[in-house]
């Protein structure tokens, strides 16, 4: 039995809000609206699967150390898996993003879903960039040398030092993945809570409008 005092608790507010907006039936559905039947819908899950591969191979690399992949065939293979996962991730995410744009997927109070998705895209570019900086090979030497001018030119370089291998490595394996992971989680939960946006003309009949 709950009392009026308990109703004021933050935890009960959170529980009620969660149950109202994202019940388990929405979180783990076993049906989809009939209009969700196009190859374009596969790019969202493909992006998530690629992100999973990036994290798994990234963890593999991080357990062995930053220089491992230069000296071990297994390490080079792990690095190659990480490299190609990133390439797939961006291809899938860009197609997903374009698809959502042409579907005007922000309709029906789904603005925050679009914003978190676009934010994840921009954040992923920053995360991938730090990855290219910590390859510890000629490419990363050159990228850090060139990129410093861009960041320095607007003052960001005063704190974000692309030539500082230690700082870039820590940001790449700790801070940025956590941010991307959280944004992605919020994005996916929003998709589940709000549902997949219906076709643009789906309610023309109800509204007495022509297509």
């Amino acid at each position: 039995m709950s009392t009026s005092t308990e109703k004021e608790m933050w935890v009960s507010k959170l529980r009620k809000g969660w149950q109202k907006n994202l019940p388990i039936e929405k979180l783990l559905p076993d049906t989809q609206p009939a209009y969700v039947a196009s190859w374009i819908y596969l790019f969202g899950v493909a992006t998530l699967a690629s992100l999973g591969m990036i994290i798994a191979t990234g963890l593999w690399l991080s357990f062995e150390g930053a220089q491992w992949y230069h000296t071990s065939n297994v390490g080079h293979f792990a690095n190659s898996m990480h490299f190609w996962s990133v390439q797939f991730f961006f291809v899938f995410m860009v197609v997903h993003l374009w698809g959502k744009f042409w579907m005007a997927a922000w309709r029906g109070r789904r603005m925050l879903t679009w914003i978190t998705g676009a934010f994840a895209f921009v954040g992923s570019i920053a995360t991938a960039f730090t990855g290219y900086l910590v390859q510890s090979n000629f490419d990363s030497q050159w990228i850090s040398y060139e990129a410093k001018d861009g960041f320095n030119s607007v003052g960001i370089g005063s704190r974000f030092t692309v030539t500082n291998f230690g700082q870039m490595l820590l940001l790449h394996v700790a801070f940025l993945p956590v941010i991307i992971g959280l944004i992605t989680l919020v994005h996916v939960l929003l998709v589940r809570a709000k549902g997949v946006v219906p076709p643009i003309d789906a309610f023309n009949k109800e509204l007495g409008e022509r297509k």
């Binding site: 898996m81 042409w102 003052g155 005063s158």
Partner: protein
């Protein structure tokens, strides 16, 4: 758009549905991606062109390394004249009246004379001429040091970096110091000394990278690998591998006027800052795209969505 339409679009879908296994879809996607990634990793590997070391530079292009060392002593190198965040030698790049780097100050101090030449030389046992030159340098006043280094830098430039053709002059210990640093680099002991700067733990490669970039060897190598900004290098990778293709728009601005002309003011000369601003604005525009008039109506005008929902429209006779 009417509020009623927004309400309908936001409401739980009450129309036809179909069976959907979220978990199965996710597992199948992970398995397929893992197979694809594993296949590409096995077939093509990944880029890993060996890093440039100071030993490589000093052995492959000793004249360039020697001349760059002299420039570091004379204060005429790119790093010595860079400005914030490394030093106060110049105002740096500006956005109109805003000199943002200068405003935020020197947060990563780099003294090319001591950090790049003198301190590394003090970490090893030097032969007599170099040891004597080091003592002379350290015992001299700033004015003498500047005169010697500038005289020798100018003389070396006049003879196109050919050390043997430099005429006699008032150079103090500068030639011996540069020769000592060249010997140290060729022996492979400069890389560690530049990084550690006399310490044990160190993970900041800024000083090494800046010194490397002051010479022409590093730049020439990047040109050969198509990595220069003027040739879309930002999105290229060494070898025949895809690079950061998602940076195409960032790289694009460097290819067009006025940003591709470093001599044009105010935009070309300050291209790095202006392009950073442009990309910042475009990134925010992407995030806030649904709120941008005209752009947010494009999906309604260009009906690509009818391809996405082709079956639904046919079935519903829409």
């Amino acid at each position: 758009m009417s509020d009623r339409r927004a309400e309908l679009e936001a409401a739980h879908w009450g129309g036809r549905t179909r069976r959907y296994d979220l978990i199965k879809e996710g597992v199948v996607a992970v398995v397929i991606i893992a197979i694809l990634v594993g296949a590409l990793a096995t077939l093509f590997g990944s880029p890993d062109e060996k890093q440039v070391t100071f030993k490589e530079w000093a052995v492959a292009a000793p004249a360039d390394f020697y001349a760059t060392s002299v420039q570091e002593l004379a204060g005429s190198s790119g790093t010595a004249g860079y400005g914030a965040p490394y030093n106060k030698a110049s105002d740096g790049i500006n956005l109109g009246p805003l000199y943002l780097a200068k405003l935020l100050g020197v947060t990563h101090p780099v003294d090319t004379v001591n950090d790049f030449v003198i301190t590394p030389l003090t970490t090893v046992s030097n032969a007599a001429p170099v040891a004597d030159a080091l003592k002379t340098w350290q015992a001299s006043d700033a004015k003498s040091k500047a005169t010697w280094a500038t005289n020798y830098d100018n003389a070396l430039t006049k003879v196109n970096q050919d050390q043997a053709k430099v005429p006699a002059g008032n150079y103090g210990p500068v030639p011996e110091l540069a020769a000592g640093l060249l010997t140290m680099a060729q022996a492979g002991s400069l890389d560690g000394a530049l990084l550690s700067q006399g310490n044990y733990f160190q993970t900041d490669n800024t000083k090494q990278t800046l010194f490397l970039g002051d010479g022409t060897y590093f730049n020439d190598k990047s040109t050969a690998s198509n990595l220069q900004g003027s040739t879309w290098g930002m999105m290229n990778e060494t070898g025949r591998y895809p690079g950061q293709a998602w940076l195409w728009l960032y790289s694009f601005w460097y290819q067009i006027p006025p940003f591709n002309n470093g001599d044009s003011h105010p935009f070309g000369a300050n291209a790095d800052a202006w392009i950073m601003v442009i990309m910042g604005v475009l990134s925010f525009s992407l995030i806030l795209m649904p709120m941008i008039p005209i752009v947010n109506r494009l999906p309604y005008k260009i009906k690509i969505h009818r391809l996405v929902w082709k079956n639904y429209y046919q079935e519903e006779n829409l």
